[in-house]
């Protein structure tokens, strides 16, 4: 009864390839700006969704998908064979994920308008039920993505592939115990092909991490769990590229990699920036206007 509503159109891979190549001609900073516009517009259109963390992780996702990751939107396979794989553990960051996927050529950018609508492939949190290309796994219930990444990393090792498994987590998300189970597991099994990002924006729903549930010395925690840890500016695209490359190069040391990316929630939209209030709130028409006036349209709105 419900599946029949799915938007099942599969755009030709040829078309997708063209989109990708075109997008790749833009400087990464311009792509990030367009992605931010997409995020704000999607959440406004849906009248629900999570702009805060999407805006804080925009550069991380841009640098990863448009520069560092070995992927092929034109010929995507759910099993990720022969390619790097990306898992969005913090599923509420679906706006940035969907925009990045569409802008990479996984599906038509026009489909971004269906975000959170009945029958859409762009569910509130990523889902595989309707076959959206680019999404390997459902997420939304926090704390599960790093475990999934561990499994995929094991497959890569068993198959002798030297591709990487990327995963994006929220900082608040690391309060979930399952994250530390996965941390211990990855270190024990020496899954150095895992490169994880924490979007360290210092905020979660009820307020700053520090007030809600302090992460304490987060760097020390990951190190104590046997990981290589790097702290970097999560809005500096060149810095992000550098730490990802560094992580890839260090993969022989047998340790999984945690890239703690210092960011600001709501980045680049003045009234959203640095506060938890826009974690999961949609801007109204006026607010959207105000936000968009601060974000350059580069590639073109959907």
């Amino acid at each position: 009864m419900v599946l029949s509503l799915s938007i099942r159109e599969q755009k030709k891979s040829k078309n997708r390839k063209i989109i990708t190549i075109m997008t790749h001609n833009y400087p990464l900073g311009e792509i990030a700006s367009q992605v931010r516009r997409d995020i704000v517009r999607m959440v406004n259109l849906a009248a629900s969704g999570h702009p805060g963390g999407s805006l804080s992780s925009t550069e991380i996702m841009t640098a990863l998908f448009f520069s560092e990751m070995n992927h092929n939107p034109a010929n995507w396979r759910r099993d990720g064979k022969g390619k790097d794989m990306f898992f969005l553990s913090a599923g509420h960051l679906s706006p940035v994920f969907y925009s990045i996927l569409a802008r990479s050529g996984y599906f038509p950018v026009s489909e971004l308008a269906s975000f959170r609508k009945l029958g859409s492939r762009l569910q509130g949190h990523p889902s595989v039920e309707r076959g959206l290309p680019g999404v390997h796994m459902a997420s939304g219930s926090l704390g599960q993505g790093l475990s999934v990444a561990c499994g995929a990393a094991l497959t890569k090792r068993i198959e002798g592939e030297n591709n990487f498994i990327y995963v994006l987590m929220g900082d608040g998300e690391s309060q979930e115990g399952q994250v530390w189970e996965a941390a211990m597991f990855a270190a024990h099994h020496k899954l150095s092909n895992i490169i994880a990002f924490t979007d360290w924006n210092g905020q979660q729903i009820d307020g700053p991490n520090e007030k809600v549930m302090s992460l304490g010395d987060l760097e020390a925690k990951w190190r104590a769990f046997g990981w290589d840890v790097v702290v970097a500016d999560g809005h500096d695209i060149e810095a992000i590229k550098a730490v990802i490359r560094g992580a890839k190069e260090a993969s022989a040391d047998g340790k999984p990699k945690m890239l703690l990316m210092k960011t600001e929630m709501g980045k680049e939209v003045d009234f959203m920036q640095g506060t938890h209030h826009w974690h999961g709130k949609a801007p109204n028409a006026e607010q959207t206007e105000k936000a968009l006036s601060q974000l350059k349209e580069t590639i073109g709105d959907f």
Binding site: M1, Q123, S141, Q175
Partner: protein, 318 residues
Amino acid sequence: MREIFENSGNKDTRSGFGAGLHELGKTNKDIVALCADLTGSLKMDAFAAEFPERFIQCGIAEANMIGTAAGLAVSGKIPFAGSFAEFVTGRVYDQVRQSVAYSETNVKICASHAGITLGEDGATHQTMEDIGLMRMLPNLTVINPCDYNQTKAATIAIADHHGPVYLRFGRPSVPNFTPANQKFEIGKALLMVEGADVSIFATGHLVWEAIQAANILKGEGISAEVVNIHTIKPLDKKAVIESAAKTGAVVTAEEHLIAGGLGELIAGLLTREKPTPQEFVAVDDLFGQSGEPADLMREYKLNAESIVSAAKRAIARK
């Protein structure tokens, strides 16, 4: 009685919970509240603001929240621990099982955004299994009130009941139609509409829909009885058996999967007592999806129209 229930204005049931909790905070100093980074969504902010020393922020760590609540309870407090329904049931079933139900600790598990009406967040957040999960646990009382007033009354009532309780409520604004001063009696089904041709046993958001259905049916000359099963466990067996025996046809209506829900509970009871034709208004073996609450209720056929046709099917099978 065929009382006329009127909507005194739409309100969300979670706000009924929030109001009840706030009131409890004022009258009982042993009440403590716990939340896992969803204080505003659970409408716990009034309590948290007025009683900061009795509000315990747990961060995004539901398993630990349940254990902490159990520890507070065993040492004499009355903890109300809240999150989205999926995250205080499926996420922590084993913790609820051992540290709350089996340990018989006086914990009140408060579950907001239950069912498909959670809306746009979609399937990972929309539990339609929580009644099934919680009613399996021995020692646990399971309550699913129908509107703002009843949720507020239930919140206050469970504080006086010594023992673990699961309290389920929802996100969207829905009709508020039960009396504001009605006392909440745990385990006592409420006859909302008296009727002779079919018994509609409804719970939660579906009670209002059932009353609407009874009105529609009345217009077609069918006399439907509506029973509000606000307490799923312990089930008011007598009320169910008597009504079903009287009408000889049953409809169950709930914002839940068929599997594990109120419908199967009543089917199990009636096949042991007096087998009766029964139709289910519930979701059959599907995950939910994103959408607006009202649209989803229609899409998943959880509304008055579905109850009307289910009632006719049940009557035809007498």
